[in-house]
Symmetry: C2
Subunit: 83 residues, 2 copies
C-alpha cells in the first residue's frame, strides 16, 4: 500500500527564529500589524510504500530522525494517510 505523509519541521520554541522575526516585522510594513509571532519551518510531503499504517508511520518517524529534522534545534509532527 502507498501512504502519503505530511511533515512539519519547526524550530524549537526555546530558540530564536530570525527568519520568522523578520517576517513578523515586515507584516507592519505591508499593513497587517494584526499578525504577530511568525515562526517559519519546513513542510515536507512524501510517499511511503508499506504494508499498513503503523509500518508507514514507523518509516516516516525514522526518516524524520535520520534526515529530515535536526532534533537539537527542531521538532516535528506528521500525519500519514493511505492514498
Amino acid at each position: 500500500m502507498k501512504f502519503k505523509a505530511e511533515i512539519d519541521v519547526m524550530p524549537l520554541e526555546a530558540l530564536l527564529d530570525p527568519q520568522g522575526k523578520a517576517v513578523s516585522n515586515s507584516m507592519k510594513n505591508i499593513g497587517l500589524p494584526e499578525i504577530t509571532g511568525v515562526r517559519i519551518g519546513r513542510h515536507v510531503r512524501l510517499f511511503v510504500e508499506a504494508d499498513n499504517q503503523s509500518e508507514a508511520e514507523t518509516k516516516v518517524e525514522e526518516a524524520c530522525k535520520k534526515l529530515l529534522a535536526n532534533q537539537i534545534m527542531e521538532s516535528y509532527v506528521f500525519t500519514v494517510e493511505a492514498v
Copy 2:
C-alpha cells in the same frame, strides 16, 4: 480574538524541486528506499488578531499573497483556529 494560523507553502507540482529530489535520493542511502516523491516547502505558524474567523482568514490570505508565498512558483494552503 486571537487566532492561530498554520500555513503550508509548497513548490508548484509542475516545477522541479531539487531539494526534495536530493532528499528522495538520500533516502536510499539511509536504508529507506520505500520513501519516494519527497517535496519540500515552508511551514509558517503565526497569530492574528481579528473579530471573527472569517476576518482572520482574510488577513492570513492577504499575508500569503503579499509576503509569504510567491504565487508564480508556489501554492499555499492554511488553517485558522481560535486560540
